[in-house]
């Protein structure tokens, strides 16, 4: 069995399809993986041609989960689309909420209060941990370390319970509004989050004990699907995949939003750009996220009682008791719910989601429905890299590669 290290311009020799008598180069095996295959992480379809077990042609096909989210936004209106952003990358709904809210705030010129920004950072980092836990759990299953799945999901379950305690939902929270968040964080919830985040680094140590030094895990990941810096940039990879390849680009540092410049954290960067590097980068990001969560909790204690939602009556619903007592507030509420309009123009805001740069481009013609809403899904760029990294490799490596590129089809197909 021959394997190839990917190099630009090197195309693995294709087996001859015509000469059936040659035992070394017989027919190619055409295999259709997905869209309901266990290793494709959602409804991704991959058409593979195998020479023995070597991949000689591979073509990912996306679109099986296409629900027309962008078009939905253009017909639903600005506010109602928040619910739909949850369904993009459904392992980190709050992060999508925040990305969309930031784009609308940029377009509307809304100033977000400090406490709301702190809460958003807290939610972002908790979502990042949750998403990376999913990565670790599913990649563990793909490579046969089934117990990893339960180790990660025990942590993720607690995370869900915390989000449930705060937002009232385990998934699909829809808790972010233009100008802030829906409600303040209760102090008991803060304490619960603190208790969880205090034990979390030890849990990450346990994950690492299971995998990092494990020779089998190392062999299955090391130098598998190595991506150079140039390739990563050329293919527009982002997030941990880009940083794993050695490019230090983290939007939290490069273009800080929501006050990320106030927090102390390091950006994890890989060297080789293989599956193992991407794994290490994600594990380190979980630790760094835990650091940020701790700092955010400290800041929350300091800003106790401050406002968590901007008092901008163009876009922010007035408090319910005022609506009942004041005519002007009732009119505000009615206008915002029925036809809230954003000023003419367009805006783009990208945030560093767990998968990479999650960007929302919104264009308004001054009416209550968007002229255009485009979602820059980091997962789509990561799916693109599948043929590049898996060409000429063994079929078994494909599961490590798909797992380590880490995409969620809800976001890729939109």
């Amino acid at each position: 069995m021959q394997t190839f290290e990917y190099a630009p311009g090197l195309v693995p020799p294709r087996a001859k399809t015509t000469d059936g008598d040659d035992p070394l180069h017989g027919e190619l095996l055409k295999l259709n993986m997905g869209p309901q295959h266990p290793a494709t992480h959602g409804v991704l379809r991959i058409k593979v041609e195998l020479d023995g077990e070597t991949i000689v042609r591979i073509e990912p096909e996306v679109g099986y989960l296409h629900r027309g989210k962008e078009k939905t936004c253009e017909s639903l209106g600005w506010r109602k689309f928040f619910v739909h952003t949850d369904r993009l990358d459904y392992v980190q709904p709050l992060m999508n909420n925040i990305g969309y809210a930031l784009a609308l705030e940029a377009l509307g010129g809304v100033k977000v209060p400090e406490r709301a920004q702190i809460i958003r950072v807290l939610l972002c980092e908790m979502s990042r941990i949750g998403s990376h836990l999913i990565y670790l759990a599913t990649t563990g299953i793909d490579l046969g370390a089934i117990t990893m799945f339960f180790f990660c999901f025990k942590q993720r379950e607690t995370l869900y319970e915390l989000l449930d305690a705060y937002t009232g939902h385990r998934m699909n929270n829809t808790y972010v509004r233009i100008g802030g968040v829906y409600a303040d964080v209760d102090e008991r919830v803060q304490d619960a989050i603190e208790a969880w985040i205090d034990q979390f680094p030890a849990a990450v140590d346990e994950f690492e004990k299971m995998l990092t030094g494990n020779r089998i895990w190392y062999d299955r990941n090391y130098r598998i699907g190595a991506i150079t810096k140039e390739e990563a940039l050329a293919w527009s990879l982002n997030g941990p995949n880009l940083r794993g390849a050695g490019v230090e680009l983290d939007l939290r540092k490069a273009q800080p939003y929501s006050g990320y410049e106030r927090y102390e954290f390091e950006v994890a960067v890989g060297t080789v750009g293989d599956c193992y590097d991407r794994y290490l980068v994600r594990v380190e990001e979980m630790r760094q996220s835990a650091r940020i969560v701790k700092q955010a909790l400290k800041l929350l204690k300091e800003t106790k009682g401050a406002e968590f939602l901007a008092e901008d009556r163009r876009y922010v619903l007035p408090p319910k008791d005022l609506v009942r007592s004041s005519m002007e507030e009732l009119i505000h509420q009615f206008k915002i719910v029925t036809d809230m309009a954003l000023p003419k123009g367009c805006a783009y805001h990208g945030i560093e989601s767990s998968k990479g740069e999650l960007g929302f481009f919104v264009a308004s013609d001054g009416t209550s429905t968007p002229l255009r809403c485009h979602i820059r899904a980091p997962g789509l760029m990561n799916v693109q890299a599948i043929p590049m990294v898996s060409m000429g490799r063994l079929f078994s490596d494909m599961v490590s590669l798909i797992g380590s590129l880490d995409f969620v089809m809800g976001e890729v197909d939109r």
Partner: protein, 357 residues
């Protein structure tokens, strides 16, 4: 007893011997099948214990009747034969996978000579044959045909890849496994499993167990038995993520269950073989004259440790890639096994067989 024997045209001793064989063989065969059933429960309980779960706990006390419920379910499920499958081979494959494991159990000596009702009934084994190890290896290797046939006959590409991997896997570990066993054979000077066990049990000193003379061979056999039984970390033939379920993707109902009875029986056989070869078989430490039932209990205890090891490893380690097993088999295990055999031979030539004055 003598009257019945006379009517059947044989002596009383002959009839007693015949009945003894019947009882013994039935007990052992049913025992092995039950071990397979219990192992399915143990596997689920141990994995649950490792993964913050409860495992089966609804059927019977502590879920003890779960294997029975599973058996009933499998029997009543519909048998689906996929379109375009090679029907005779498709139906034959599960049997081909399970029967060799059942056959190999025949030569395993579970205990020393059984003394019951004031009579010596011989060792607790279905067959005490002189070429025990040879028989075990020859028959045991047949089980891979079941996997290959299942892969071929299912008319599914995933199954086919699983079957191909099983064949690639087999050639890479079997040689080193046999060489590892050969070192013990050289040490014992016999390929009769009962004699090998008796040699280690004679003094009751645990240091006489061949593990302490052949630790490397014991480890090689352990690794090879993971591959032999298609267990994690070498379960490429199944390999859930990329091959869906590998060779048994298209199997359902009892045919699927028979594959698993085969797998667990093979686990029991490989554990028993390791115990006989390296851990003194029925030897009870410091009790050279232990009665047969104590020896049998000791044997079962040792086998249980091995079976637990199988389960423990499965739920702890990630899976190898199949070319990595071939690399390990040919480049690491085979040279090690050869060296071990060479060293054993040299020691025997220099110092004579163990136990010799």
């Amino acid at each position: 007893m003598n009257d019945i024997a006379a009517k059947l045209g044989m002596t009383g001793d002959q009839l007693e011997g015949l009945l003894a064989i019947l009882v013994r063989n039935t007990v052992i065969l049913i025992g092995v099948i039950n071990v397979a059933a219990v192992m399915t429960l143990v596997e689920r309980k141990v994995s649950a214990w490792m993964q913050y779960r409860h495992g089966p706990n609804r059927v019977g006390p502590w879920g003890l009747l779960q294997p029975l419920a599973d058996g009933v379910k499998f029997i009543f499920k519909e048998v689906v034969i996929p379109y375009g499958a090679n029907k005779p081979l498709y139906l034959l494959a599960p049997a081909m996978a399970a029967v060799p494991a059942m056959m190999t159990i025949a030569v395993i000596p579970f205990a020393n000579d059984v003394v019951l009702f004031g009579k010596n009934w011989g060792p607790l084994a279905i067959a005490d044959i002189d070429v025990g190890i040879l028989y075990l290896l020859a028959i045991g290797s047949m089980s891979v045909y079941g996997v290959i046939l299942a892969g071929w006959a299912s008319n599914s590409k995933y199954s086919l890849l699983g079957g191909l991997r099983a064949s690639a896997q087999m050639i890479s570990y079997e040689l080193s496994m046999i060489l590892a066993i050969l070192a013990v054979v050289a040490l014992a000077g016999s390929i009769n499993l009962k004699e090998i066990a008796a040699l280690q049990a004679s003094t009751g000193n645990p240091l006489d167990w061949f593990f302490f003379k052949q630790p490397l061979a014991c480890f090689l056999l352990l690794v090879a038995s993971f591959a032999e039984t298609n267990r994690h970390p070498f379960d490429f033939a199944e390999c859930e993520p990329e091959l869906v379920a590998g060779f048994n993707t298209e199997y359902s109902a009892m045919k699927w269950a028979i594959f698993f009875i085969g797998e667990y029986s093979a686990m029991a056989v490989m554990s028993a073989l390791s115990v006989v070869l390296f851990w003194g078989g029925w030897s009870v430490p410091f009790m050279p004259d232990a009665p047969w039932y104590l020896g049998f209990a000791a044997f079962l205890a040792k086998v249980s440790v091995y079976l637990f090891l199988f389960v423990w490893v499965r739920w702890t380690l990630p899976r190898f890639r199949f070319d990595q097993l071939m690399r390990i088999g040919w480049k690491v295990m085979l040279p090690l096994a050869l060296l071990n055999l060479l060293a054993t031979g040299a020691m025997l030539a220099l110092f004579g067989p163990p136990g010799a004055p």
